[in-house]
Symmetry: D2
Subunit: 260 residues, 4 copies
């Protein structure tokens, strides 16, 4: 965790120097472990509330990962961009205004990249991509999401987002509403309606976080299901972003673009 690296001399096989901001938080701890275990990365700085950001630059961090708080993240990113350090950001609370401010900072630092993603689960991101892509080819589409019973909201944010993607793809293809002859419904049986897509939220002890997207056409159904058991499932997405962020100067929103 020392000495500054001279970028020009860096050989291709030298590990990427990574700093973690929010290193003692729930996600930060997982990120530190994942970076430490990655053979092509070196964990050079673990920074949390009360620590100096300069620890990261002094240690020669080339990329920082930020899982901090909406209050702290903009200052952190401003400083990173100024220092020429690229950033991968999982902190929440990004509005379009915040993204716009960041684009301004990045415009003045052409070599620096920032990836902001609301969800680093590669499986979840692929599920949403596939759902969006399949949507226009099927007459019917419904979502069943299943979570542990301590969850406060129904449907989940991921389910709502998926429903909107499907609805938009259907609208773009000129599809009308999915067929549904239900006349006699016990209230709630048909789930909730998100932009015309029915979403069902199951809550049960023993479940973790699961989502099924069901598409139907005459004589066939296509189902895309994602099961997530563990916070560790976000780490491959974080590492992917860390590896790619310096090759994508400017701002990238969402993991999607990095999966191609």
């Amino acid at each position: 965790m020392s000495a500054v690296t001279d970028e020009q001399d860096k050989s291709a096989d030298e590990p990427l120097r990574v700093g973690v901001l929010g290193a003692r938080g729930r996600m930060g701890i997982e990120v530190c472990k994942a970076v430490d275990a990655a053979p092509d990365m070196e964990l050079v700085a673990m920074v949390d509330q009360g620590d100096w950001l300069f620890n990261a630059s002094d240690a020669g961090a080339e990329v920082v990962v930020d899982f901090t708080t909406p209050d702290a993240v903009m200052d952190n990113l401003h400083w990173c961009i100024d220092q020429g350090i690229s950033a991968v950001v999982g902190t929440t609370g990004f509005t379009e205004a915040r993204l716009e401010r960041m684009r301004g900072w990045l415009a003045r630092k052409p070599g620096v990249g920032v990836v902001v993603a609301p969800n680093f689960g590669i499986g979840a991101v692929l599920m949403m991509q596939f759902a969006e892509r399949a949507a226009s080819h099927f007459e019917s589409a419904e979502i069943i999401e299943q979570h542990h019973p301590r969850k406060l909201d129904a449907p989940s944010g991921t389910a709502t987002h998926t429903a909107r993607l499907i609805a938009a793809a259907r609208a773009a293809a000129g599809q009308g509403p999915a067929p549904d002859a239900t006349r006699d419904e016990v209230a709630g049986a048909r789930g909730c309606d998100i932009d015309g897509v029915r979403v069902h939220s199951v809550r049960a002890t023993g479940l973790v976080a699961h989502q099924e997207v069901l598409f139907g056409a005459t004589g066939e159904t296509l189902t895309i299901r994602h099961d997530s058991y563990d916070r560790a499932s976000f780490m491959p997405g974080v590492l992917l972003a860390v590896r790619k962020v310096r090759t994508r100067p400017g701002l990238t929103v969402g993991l999607d673009a990095l999966l191609d």
Copy 2:
């Protein structure tokens, strides 16, 4: 399709002589095919509206299968019982009063059996039995039923019945409500509530008739799923009842008792 059988002389390997009432209806046609294909049965009479019931007795039917209408079925059964012919009945519309009348007729004919079943799908019946049996061992239970979009009611009758069986088993075991911290719900997301059990109804082109019962306890879930594609799926249950009805004098309601 002729001559009366002398019961006493009947050898064990002689096929069982079966008549079908409602033989030209949707279900009746399937029953005729199934009886005809069964090596241990002989289809001796196909009776429908306008035909004489005596065709069945003249042909020596030992068992009749009735898939007719609520209007016709009581007369048919009265006649069968009088003739000493056992019956397997899939016709709907049975009230407790009707069952009671039939018990009266059967009391005077000790050798005759009648099986009345609302559902001859062995898979569906087992699903309900298993759900009832599992219910008291799990903190959570929800039902997801999935059908073609031409279905008028939601949830399905089978789902409602299953939910009631689960609710009764939970109550008998002194279980309280399943845990559910939902505070922020888009209306309908959590499904409908049948005696405290949440039921979700999915409707999509390409589906036929499916039901999943999900039970959850700490660290595990148990799922019982039934998929039905075809009216033919009821035939094994009908044939099972035909084979067993003469060994069960009196009235039997439901396929359950025959599955043990």
Copy 3:
């Protein structure tokens, strides 16, 4: 089923004139029904063994659909291309040599398009596309295909093809073999090995045609499942190809390209 159309005068809303070759075969009958039911198409010719191909051109067919036999299909297509009629082909038995010959014929008829597809099930094609795309992002990938017990081959052609797509995507991404510590195996338990991807073939009465592709990474799995119940499920893919073939001069192999 008569009169030649003057292409130049054709208004945008006039239905597309479609002929079917192999019209009395299992698939041909379904195609005729589907074309007949499509509001933007007119079924102008039904041709089968013993009929003249000229029936199709005389009736002004703009597109023909060919579900015939490997023996007949090349002559049919040569004739169509010569006549300036585009074709959608579901007949099997296409080798690279055959495709090459067809490319030669098409080179001399720049306005004509031919789509040859081994599988017109949109759901199946999307499943394969998604599987290919997900493959490089997950450490593990296995396929479970489930069919009726009358099927002669195991695994299915679709499963084998999917496994190869996954294997190629893994190789291209430099992935090694999926982790598997199995030391003590009852022969066959781990399925068969198709280019390093394990495939499991389930056979049971009551199943039709189903496939599940399972991807796994730390803490999460992504499952893509296709259920097909009916030959009718191929028709949307056939109609899609009929609608698009004239906008894609030359040879198109596979439905994939038409789904974008």
Copy 4:
């Protein structure tokens, strides 16, 4: 953790006094936590290698739970039975000879009960019960078990045991082999054969421990699926046995009997 209880005076609401043998092992730790959290139990002794068994009797344990080793368990149980303490045993390595010896000890202590179970997962036990019960009603039955890739054996012990139960139920009902027309098989595609039942073992990162039993008849399938994510899933079964063992004098093998 003191004073001996006078059994006669014990009121119905006093918590059951439970000791744990093997308290510092992986399972033992979970058992201690579960007993401690149960409102109707008191954890009165935690005994491990090097501790005196008398700690349990001195502390007034009415029931002990033994998750120790095959080497230690018989001595532990002999001592418990002598002391009049009932026991719930999850330790492995029980042969018929060992069970027979235990029956001898118990015969001389009529008030004492011992429950020995190879699997305390209520979900898994119910899955096996249901599979056994459904077996004779379906023409086809196959098992798909799915585990993490560090597992050494394929198929799993639970899958093998389930297959044997199904095979025995089929044999008892006089069923022949399930239909299977496979002629052209890539070696292993159809899984392994356990007493005539096909079993498929999937191994993938991200999976924990899952099993699906699929039954098929004409036009329908019935699927029983168990998903287990966590060692904690065994605790409800252990607690159930602790609550019931004193009401079942003598030896009980398997959790099944306690679930009725």
